[in-house]
Subunit: 326 residues, 2 copies
């Protein structure tokens, strides 16, 4: 490959490499005439600086790592889309990696981030991640790690999460306000801290109001459908879904039974907002915005990079978005 380099531009123009370099960066020392000459030559030859050389020399990669459990997940994609946008605006690039819920791949991804000398890492951990040492070691060499969504259960690291207790509380209160008598509540992976917290908050409020509640944990959408099929005959008057996946399963079950929403059964879910609008009536949901999370995570990263030693532990506020399902 015959790439254009500063050396080549220097040879052709007869100027020294450093002059060419300066001219291209619009350095005040260089005469307008030279600048014009060099920039024209450069654009003629499609010169682009070799970013590896620049980074090696400047010891700065202007690169952030992003590790997510999966790239085929609407929520993480909304986070990534928002991170990408912020990064672009700030002249950073992103190296995006998926761990596919495998701690070994996660470890390899961390390694890659180290090798790339990323300026920082955004990470959502796998359910099986027991050892977060590799992450902490990054922090030791001044590579800040901002955990998001699935975060380790310890206080000495930056964490940006969607509201756990709050969103469950809003849902439970809405159910009470609407005088529902019997709830079917389906939660997600019971390993996650967020699930435990939501379960706890949700059930305790219903308990206060003396509302009957059937609870279950679903591993995925299909499982959620099974659960719905099993319990719908017991005629709950509202079903609470902790995730989009669960909502999808539940909706299939209610549609199959031709249950009218909200008359036969009400539905309320926690979601980033995509699925709920697919149905008629739209499903009432508590919004967990990936976009907001991304923006906030990026802000935390920038603030940490600019010297702040503050430990960020932020929660994306829950917003109730009313549809017609309750």
């Amino acid at each position: 490959m015959i790439t254009t380099t500063l050396k080549k531009l220097s040879e052709i123009s007869g100027l020294s490499i450093s002059t060419v370099s300066r001219a291209l960066k619009n350095h005040p020392d260089i005469s307008e005439k030279t600048k014009l000459l060099v920039t024209e030559l450069a654009s003629m030859l499609d010169y682009e600086p070799n970013i590896n050389a620049v980074h090696l020399r400047t010891r700065d990669s202007r690169l952030f790592g992003v590790i997510v459990p999966s790239l085929s997940n609407c929520f993480y994609n909304s986070v990534i889309a928002s991170l990408e946008e912020e990064a672009r605006k700030n002249d950073y690039s992103l190296i995006i990696l998926q761990s596919v819920d495998d701690p070994d791949i996660e470890a390899a991804n961390i390694k890659l981030c180290r090798q790339n000398r990323v300026n920082g890492l955004f990470a959502s951990i796998t359910p099986e991640t027991i050892n977060i040492e590799p992450f902490l070691k990054l922090a030791e060499i001044d590579i800040p790690v901002i955990f998001f969504d699935r975060v380790p259960d310890r206080s000495d690291c930056h964490k940006i999460c969607v509201a756990d207790i709050d969103s469950a509380t809003i849902a439970a209160n809405l159910i009470a306000e609407n005088s529902k008598k019997k709830v079917l509540a389906i939660f997600g992976n019971s390993k996650f801290l967020i699930t435990k917290k939501r379960y706890q908050a949700f059930t305790s409020i219903l308990h206060q109001y003396n509302i009957e509640c059937i609870t279950a944990y679903a591993t995925d959408g299909t499982h959620a459908r099974q659960i719905a099929n099993d319990y719908l005959p017991e005629k709950p008057d509202v079903v609470f879904c902790m995730t989009d996946e669960i909502l999808a399963g539940v909706m299939r079950a209610t549609q199959k039974r031709k249950l009218k929403i909200p008359d036969d059964i009400a539905v309320i879910t926690i979601s980033n907002g995509f699925l709920p609008t697919l149905y008629y009536p739209q499903i009432t949901y508590i919004e967990t915005s990936g976009e907001k999370l991304g923006k906030l995570a990026f802000e935390s990263m920038m603030s940490t990079l600019s010297g702040s030693t503050f430990i960020h532990d932020k929660i994306i506020e829950s917003v109730l978005v009313r549809g017609g399902s309750i």
Copy 2:
């Protein structure tokens, strides 16, 4: 930042930099004793090679660029997920960029890929991309470009697409087989070649069968819903949706009117398979698999990189997935 480098390892061990380098790469010339010493020292100090230096020196980035219109799009995400997996297996990294349908951002992204000296580029262009010169220039300096999904309308470049004519043909024939009499067909962005081809194939088949057909182009899901609302009163007995977005809009309209599927109205769509399974009955669809597209695109890239001068112009075969909506 006090990063561990070969130099540092060399100073500590008393060995030369090259010996350390070789020991770390398990070079046959180096004695087992030295290797052990060096690898232990390296792991103690968490040595990771500076990838910028490696790439600069080896003149190889082991990096592919990926440019998609949007990262908040299920189809592209499935393509990316599959590209990422293939890349990881082959020790490549991905630099993923979104153009948000803006040709200027697209141009900036191409520039970034050049600067990163990517080994190749996977790209899906914006509807407004009129000048694909910047892409072709990459090809000139031996950076292969594999276009996918939204590809330029010319024959001298690699293209991997989902089936255009085929998928529309399958849909039209299925409609005829089911003795439908009046079709509402909603297509996507009329600027895209794929839309034109599908429109052409679809309508001409219906014409052969003498089936009445109302056609429309939708810009997005909301627009599709409006169109459905406008035309459902004319009582079509089947609606064909060209994309997931359109399906979503149409389904909201049919649910609002409490139309029973497939009795009151049949539905058939082209989709990557996520949305159709959300409904009951599941929507019959013609599959356009992002995973398959990603794998095929990656294969084409590897074959091109290994010297093949063959122009890849591949189509992901259409598969009819029967739900209960027709």
